[in-house]
C-alpha cells in the first residue's frame, strides 16, 4: 500500500485496523489481488499488507521499487534486503559514522534514516563509488596511505572523506580532522586517513 498525501483515509494502518476491531473495515480497503495472496496465514499476511509501504529508490544508479515496513532503516535495507553489505553497522545510533552513505550527494548516517524517508532519492554507497575494478582516487589514496587496519570503518570513512573534499572542508589537516570526526576508527588509522584526504584534495583531482 502506497503512502498517500494528506488526504489519506483514517484507517489505512494496521493498528487503526486493529483498533476498529473488525476485519471488514480493512478488507474493504484492500485490493482483491492482495486478498488472494493473503489466503493462508491470514494474520501474518495482513500484518505485512498493512505495515509495508511502497518505496522507489535509486541505489548506485540502479532503480528499486520496494515494499518496506516504515521502521526499516536505510542501513538495514541496504545490508539485509539489498545485500549491499559494504555499508557497515557500527553503533546503529548515529554515533560512529560506519554507516555513512550519500543521499543525493550529501553524506548522512544511514542508520538514522528510515528507508521510506528516501522516496525518489538517489543513494550512493561504497559499492557505487567507482566502477568495477577501477578505484576512486580516495580509495586509492586510502590504500597508499594505509588509512585503515581492520577495514570495518573504512567504507564510512571513504564516503565521508569524498564528501569532505567535495564540501570544501579539506583545506588543512585541522579542518579535515574536525570534519571527519563523525567517523570513528578504533584501530586508530586517523593520521593516515588525514594524509589520504589531504593528498586527494591537493591533487585537485575530480572526486
Amino acid at each position: 500500500m502506497s503512502v498517500k498525501e494528506e488526504n489519506i483515509p483514517e484507517n489505512e494502518g494496521r493498528r487503526d485496523f486493529l483498533k476498529q476491531g473488525t476485519l471488514f473495515t480493512a478488507l474493504a480497503l484492500t485490493p482483491v489481488s492482495l486478498l488472494k495472496a493473503a489466503d493462508q496465514k491470514a494474520d501474518e499476511k495482513f500484518a505485512e499488507l498493512f505495515e509495508k509501504v511502497s518505496l522507489r529508490i535509486k541505489v548506485n544508479g540502479k532503480a528499486h521499487e520496494l515494499f518496506v515496513e516504515p521502521r526499516v532503516t536505510l542501513l538495514d535495507l541496504l545490508r539485509e534486503q539489498l545485500a549491499l553489505t559494504g555499508t557497515k553497522k557500527g553503533c546503529d545510533h548515529g554515533q560512529c559514522g560506519a554507516c555513512t552513505v550519500h543521499i543525493d550527494g550529501t553524506r548522512v548516517n544511514s542508520c538514522l534514516q528510515l528507508a521510506v524517508m528516501n522516496e525518489g532519492k538517489e543513494i550512493t554507497t561504497i559499492e557505487g563509488l567507482a566502477n568495477e575494478d577501477v578505484l576512486h582516487p580516495m580509495q586509492a589514496a586510502f590504500i597508499k596511505h594505509d588509512g585503515f587496519q581492520c577495514g570495518y570503518c573504512t567504507p564510512g570513512q571513504i564516503m565521508s572523506a569524498v564528501a569532505c573534499v567535495r564540501e570544501g572542508h579539506a583545506g588543512s589537516k585541522g579542518e579535515i580532522r574536525e570534519y571527519m570526526s563523525g567517523n570513528i576508527c578504533r584501530c586508530g588509522a586517523y593520521p593516515n586517513i588525514v594524509d589520504a584526504i589531504e593528498e586527494v584534495h591537493k591533487s585537485g583531482v575530480q572526486v
Partner: protein, 713 residues
Amino acid sequence: MRDKSLLKEDTDRVDGFDKVTGRAKYFAEYQIPGTTYGVLVPSTITKGKITGIDSKAAERAPGVLAVVSHLNRPVVAGYETGKDQGVPNNMMKIFYTDQISFNGQPIAMVVADTYERAVYAATLVKGTYAKEAFETDFEKNLSKAKAPKNPAQASYLRGTADAYKNAAVQIEASYTLPTETHNPMELHGILANWESADKITVYAKTQGVKATQGTIASTFKLPLTNVQVNSEFVGGGFGMALRTWPLEIAAIIAAKQVNKPVKLVITRDQMFTLAGHRPYAFQKVGLGADKDGQLTGITHEAWGHTATYEDFTENVVSMSKFMYNSANVNTTYKIVPLNVGVPIWMRGPGEATGAFALESAMDEMAHSLDMDPIAFRVKNYTEEDPEKSRPYSSKNLKEAYKMGAEKIGWSKRNNKPGTNKDGNWLVGYGMSTGVFNASRGRASAKGILKSDGTLLLQSAASDIGPGTGTGMVQIAHEVLGIPVSKITFELGDSSFPTAPSQGGSATLSTVGSAVSDVCNALKAKIAEMATQSGLSASAKFVDVLKKNNLPSVEVTMESKGGEEQKKYSMYSFSIHFVQVKVNPLTGVVKVSKIVSVGDSGRIVSPKTARSQMVGGAVGGLGMALTEETVMDHRFGRYVNNNFADYHVPVHADIPEIEVVFVNKPDPYINPMGAKGMGEIALIGFSAAVANAVFNATGKRIRTLPITPDKILA
C-alpha cells in the same frame, strides 16, 4: 585479495582492495538462503533467579519462529556432563539455568524471519525475577580480593620486600584505571548454520578460528572436523574476540532449535556487557632510590576485578619485575569478583595497566630526584633480565631513548613543571617505556607453488587488523624471491593448518616462522627436483615444475621455537613521547605531538608496522584522556554504554604521530629476527600523557582518564 594489480606498492595491504571497495565480507555479511535473525533478551536484574519468562506475546508476533531460553532449549551435549565440565574455561553456560550473575545476561533469544520483527518481538519478552543482593563496586569490595590460582602471578619477591621504605628518596602512590571497553567498530555476533544434525558451519568474529572450532566442538560434543569456522575479515578485536562468548553459543543453540541459519549481531550497548572489557584496576607503587638515582626497591601491588562466575587474570605487575635494575622487588596481584560480565584481555592487556602505574611512578621519582626522566631510566638500565637472570635476546633502548628525544624536541622540556607556555596554554612533555613479552609459539602452514608462477599459502591464522596477510606475503617474498603480487596468503578458515589465536603480539613471530620454514622447504624441494631432473639447482621453480610436468608442489609443516627461548629473555620494547597543551581555564588537554619508538627487532612490513604503532598511540590516548566505562552501582548497569558517551578518540583528538623504529634484527627469536608490536604500541602510552600533563601543570593525575574536570580539581 581479489585483485592485487591495483596495489601500487609492495608494502600496500594485500587486502586493501577488498577493504576500500566494501567487498571484504565480515561475518554478518555472508548470504545463506533462509537466514533468520536472532535478538537477545537481556536480564534487567544484576543477580538472582529467573522466576518466569513470558514469551507468549513474542511468539504470537509476526514472523517469530522461536523464543529460546533455558526453559525450552534443545539438548546441548556439552552441558550435560556435570556442573563445570564440558565447556572450555568453565565458560558460562548460556540458557542453562535460572541463575543471573550480571545485569544484561541473556535470558532468551528471539528468532524471527526479519531483523525488524526479531528486534520488536524481543521487547515483548518479559522476564520475572527473584532479585538477590549484588556487588559491582570495585572499590567497595577491595577487601574481598583473592589471590589468583597461579602462584607466580599472585606474588613475587626478589631481595627484601618493601625495601623502598629504607631508601634515601622514596615515593609511594596509588593509581586507578577505570573499566574500559574494547569497542571494535564491528559489532559482535555469529552466523550459525547447522548443515546436518551433527555438522555445523559458522561465520564468526574471532581472533582464533581453531579456538572457536574447539569450543563449539566441545560444547556440542562434535568431532572437530564437523565444525567449520570461517572468519576471513574481522572488524577489530583488541582482545575481545580471543574467546568464544556465550552469546555465540546461544545463536548456535537457537539455530538448532529453529533448524535454520541464525544470524546474531549484538547491539553496541550489549558490547559493554556481553563481550568483555578491561577490568577496573587499583595499584600501589612504592619506589626507593639513593640520592644518585639508583633504584633500591620497587614494590608494586595491584588489584583488578573479575566476574563471580569465571576468573579472569592478567599480568599487571610483570614489568616491575624486570624492567629496571633494582636488587629488591616485590609484587602482589589480586582479583575481586563482582557481578559483572567477565573481563577479557584488552590491547596491551594487564601490562598496559601496570605500565601506567610504574611509568607514572618512575616520573614521580625522577621529579623527586630532580633528574631528567630519561636520565633516570638510563641510570637504572639493565643489560640482563634481573627477574630470570639471563640476557635479553635483543634490547636497544638506549638508542631508542635518543631517537625519540630528538624527534619530540625533548631539549625544549623544562624539568620544572608549569613553566612552559604557548599563549594561554601550558605546554608539557612526557615520556614512558613500554614492554611486552616477545614469543614464538607453534604454528603450521601450507605452501603451494604453482606452475603459473604463483605461491598460495594457507594457515588458520587470523587478521583483526594488523595486516597478517601482508606480513606473511613479505616473509614469503623474502625467502623465495617471488614478486609480492604473485603470492597469496589465506587465513581465517579452521580447515587450514593450525595456527594460534591472534593475541599477545605473537602472530608475526609464530605464523611468520611457519611461513618462512615452509618457503625454505619449498625452496629445497625445488632445488632437489631441479637437480634430479637435470636442471641447475638455481633454476626457476616454474621451469622445474614444467620440466617435471607438475601443476604444483606442496609442503605443509609445523614450526616452533627451540632452546633459544630458555636461554634468552625475549621482549619487545617501546618508548612513547608526547607533547601536551593544557588550557588552565577550561581544563582541556590536547595532545599536540606524539613520537613512538619501537624496538621490536627487524621490521618485516614497514607500512603496516608503522600503522600498528600509530593505532596503539591512538588507543593509548583514549586510555589516557577519554575512556571510562561507568556503572551505576545501585542498578549494576552501565550508564554510558554507547559511542556518544563512551569516548573513543576521534579524528580531532589525534595530532601528527611520528613513528621511529630501531629496526635491528633480533638474532635469536625467529628466522625473521622480528618481534611483535601490537601491545607495545599502546603499553606505557597513558603514563607518557600523565607525565606530560604533570610537566605542563604540576598536577599529578593518578586516576585515568585525565578529563577536564580532573585538571580543574
